[in-house]
Amino acid sequence: MKTMALFSATAATVIPRNLAIASSSKHFLAHSLLPSFPRFVSFPTPKSNPRNLRTVSLQSPRAQASASPSPSATFHGLCYVVGDNIDTDQIIPAEYLTLVPSKPDEYEKLGSYALVGLPASYATRFVDAGETKTKYAIVIGGANFGCGSSREHAPVALGAAGVSAVVAESYARIFFRNSVATGEVYPLESESRLCEECRTGDVVTIELGESRLINHTTGKEYRLNPIGDAGPVIEAGGIFAYARKSGMIPSR
């Protein structure tokens, strides 16, 4: 696929297996998105904005002269904190569901409406007025994140807006499945109630290999739960990639 070419030259030897494939599954939805917002690979750019740190940093080709064997993917950026039972109507209100996620321009529009359904008690907007992307690479939630409707538009909107990962105390199952199947956001579970420990705007780093979240603003570290059964599917790059890998459907 066209978008994978951006990674393939370096990906073959450098990008840890799980990340390379995870990024390919994400980006088949966002052909036009990739050049502007490479979420999975951090390339130094003249436009890089300290406020806009939302990229995954990998070991760069130069630093990987003697690459460590285990993948050490990280997510880094500002976090946006929400409470319990954030349902899919709050993540993407029903009136926007006429947008079809598999159409690239409508995919972008979905991103601009991510979390617009949150009540007024959330003083800080997730996506600023007039913007199509969010400043916040990581969403931190409470219990039962993504409950309600099965609309896949929910994880898609978050991913299209620029979210790399969600760290919630627990998930509703359909949202979790959709996150895994699409590869749009990495759904992580925390051991403790991070929604009470972190504040919107804190700078955080998630180290997947260490199952750890570091809040640089408070200086605290937290354990994350292992991904569990969904691991192989996420690592393969979503349900289609997993099925191809296991021989269930033919490779392309």
Partner: protein, 501 residues
């Protein structure tokens, strides 16, 4: 019948015992030694091992359905298996996205795995001038024509729903009415309330676009077998209670995440006394407790309902006597009172009578949860008992064309031959609207009965999270049709016993 989109090697894949981490191959061989007694020249007959040659532990009906559908003798909760899908349904909101993924992954010229197992039902954003919403129905039509999909309940004339002979309305009610729900089967759909079909003793759950695209091509999906929570409901159902009240009680009991990743099995004398539509209401809100699927064992009520609607063979399954359940909850239904779910959560339970000071602005009766024929009959019963007019705008949205017809034709008991529609008219309700999902989920801004102001609404729908019916500050009280009608009559949240006793 196997789709050409499956790898040729896959047919034997399920039967190989490759050591893959996600697959639990739990069959074990059990051979019993047979003593040979040679007393004469005729050898004693060898005892055959049991039919499958495997040891089987007791299973719940959900486990059995998934075991059979994944061609395994045994399934334990937590097992991840590739399941053969009997019916895949989608609608106008998620269909286009699922189709997009299907074509992208399997190719523009790919064909669905089985044109008779895909059911496409436009129902969500139908009677609107929203161009994208209308375009989405066109996308469904183009796909159905290209794939020669057998079951597509199309609509073209938005100005007059009756001019569309194929159009049905709300997908979950249409699935039941059109005979697509059969005991023992696996039904998936791109909608959270797919669990409604569990009322027919089948495994039914909601999935997203990507997984639906996968099923379209392969007819299979990777599913994890859930453990089961059992709800035993006994006792005579009081005549002021409906199954909407039962499920609201249960959701509050276990919370909105109490059944996450679990199956909810409903048994007991009360459940056995429920009609199919009442059982559908019960299973419909399983997802509001986080449940993966809900099931009611099939019985004569089920068989009678499906007779004449479906002509495909089916084989019901039942939980084994010794099946293991994660927990069991027992309810004496005769002791329950009408309840509502207050804003803004389906588990925010309160007794209806304790909310009698809550002034309301409107009442909404509709949706897959509370817009079926019996739901309207129930509301009509309350209006009839009162004889008075409603004090607030009362919106009625029949779920399907058939429900709309019933509302206009079936006489309400004790009314001297009046139909629901006549009773509604006399009570001053709005005229029953075109059948669709309507304002249950807000929808495009011009959706009939959408809440565009911050009002207080009593509704027979399924969710009341902020903004659900439109306005973010809208306050939604979820209730049974009895409670909704009673509330319409007083202008306050009202216990239906005010009128029914």
């Amino acid at each position: 019948m196997a789709s050409s989109l499956l790898s040729p090697s896959f047919s034997s894949f399920l039967r190989t015992k490759k050591d893959l981490p996600l697959y639990a191959f739990s069959s074990q061989r059990c051979f019993k030694a047979v003593p040979k007694r040679i007393r004469c020249s005729v050898a004693a007959p060898q005892r055959q091992p049991s039919t499958t040659g495997s040891v089987r532990t007791a299973m719940t009906m959900t486990e059995k359905i998934l075991a059979r559908a994944s061609e395994k003798a045994q399934l334990s909760p937590g097992d991840n298996v590739w399941v053969n899908i009997d019916v895949l349904m989608t609608h106008d909101v998620c269909g286009p996205g699922s189709i997009g993924i299907f074509k992208r992954e399997f190719g523009e010229d790919a064909k669905v795995w089985d044109r008779e197992k895909v059911v496409i039902i436009p129902d969500h954003y139908i009677f609107t001038s929203d161009e994208r919403a209308n375009r989405n129905v066109d996308i469904l039509r183009d796909f159905c024509q290209e794939q020669n999909i057998k079951y597509f309940y199309d609509i073209k004339d938005l100005g007059n729903f009756k001019a569309n002979p194929d159009y049905k309305g709300v997908c979950h009610v249409a699935l039941a009415q059109e005979g697509h729900c059969r005991p023992g089967e696996v039904l998936l759909s791109t909608d959270s309330h797919t669990c409604t079909a569990g009322a027919f003793g089948q495994f039914a759950t909601g999935i997203g676009n990507t997984e639906a695209g996968f099923v379209l091509g392969t007819g299979k999906l990777l599913l994890k077998g859930p453990p089961t929570l059992r709800f035993v409901m006994d006792g005579g159902m009081p005549d002021y209670l409906l199954s909407k009240g039962l499920i609201l009680q249960i959701i509050c009991e276990i919370s909105v995440a109490g059944a996450t990743y679990k199956a909810m099995e409903f048994v007991g004398t009360t459940v056995e006394s429920l009609s199919m539509e009442e059982r559908m209401t019960l299973c419909n809100m399983v997802v509001e407790a986080g449940g993966k699927n809900g099931v009611v064992p099939a019985d004569s009520t089920t068989f009678k309902y499906i007779e004449g609607k479906t002509f495909l063979p089916y084989e019901p399954v039942y939980s084994d006597q010794k099946a293991r359940f994660l927990s069991e909850y027992r309810f004496d239904v005769s002791k329950l009172e009408p309840v509502v779910a207050k804003p803004h959560s389906p588990d925010n339970r309160a007794l209806a009578r304790e909310c009698k000071d809550v002034k309301i602005n409107r009442v909404y009766i509709g949706s897959c949860t509370g817009g079926k024929t019996e739901d309207f009959m129930a509301a009509a019963k309350v209006f009839l008992a009162s004889g008075k007019k409603v004090k607030v705008p009362t919106f009625l949205v029949p779920a399907t064309q058939k429900v709309w017809m019933d509302v206009y034709t079936i006489p309400v008991p004790g009314s001297g031959g009046k139909t629901c529609s006549q009773i509604f008219e006399e009570a001053g309700c709005d005229t029953p609207a075109s059948p669709s999902c309507g304002a249950c989920l807000g929808g495009p801004k011009d959706t009939y009965a959408r809440m565009n102001e911050p009002q207080v609404c009593v509704s027979t729908t399924n969710r009341n999270f902020p903004g659900r019916m439109g306005h973010k500050e809208g306050q939604i009280y979820l209730a049974s049709p009895y409670t909704a009608a009673a509330s319409a009559l007083t202008g306050y949240v009202t216990d239906p016993r005010e009128f029914l006793q």
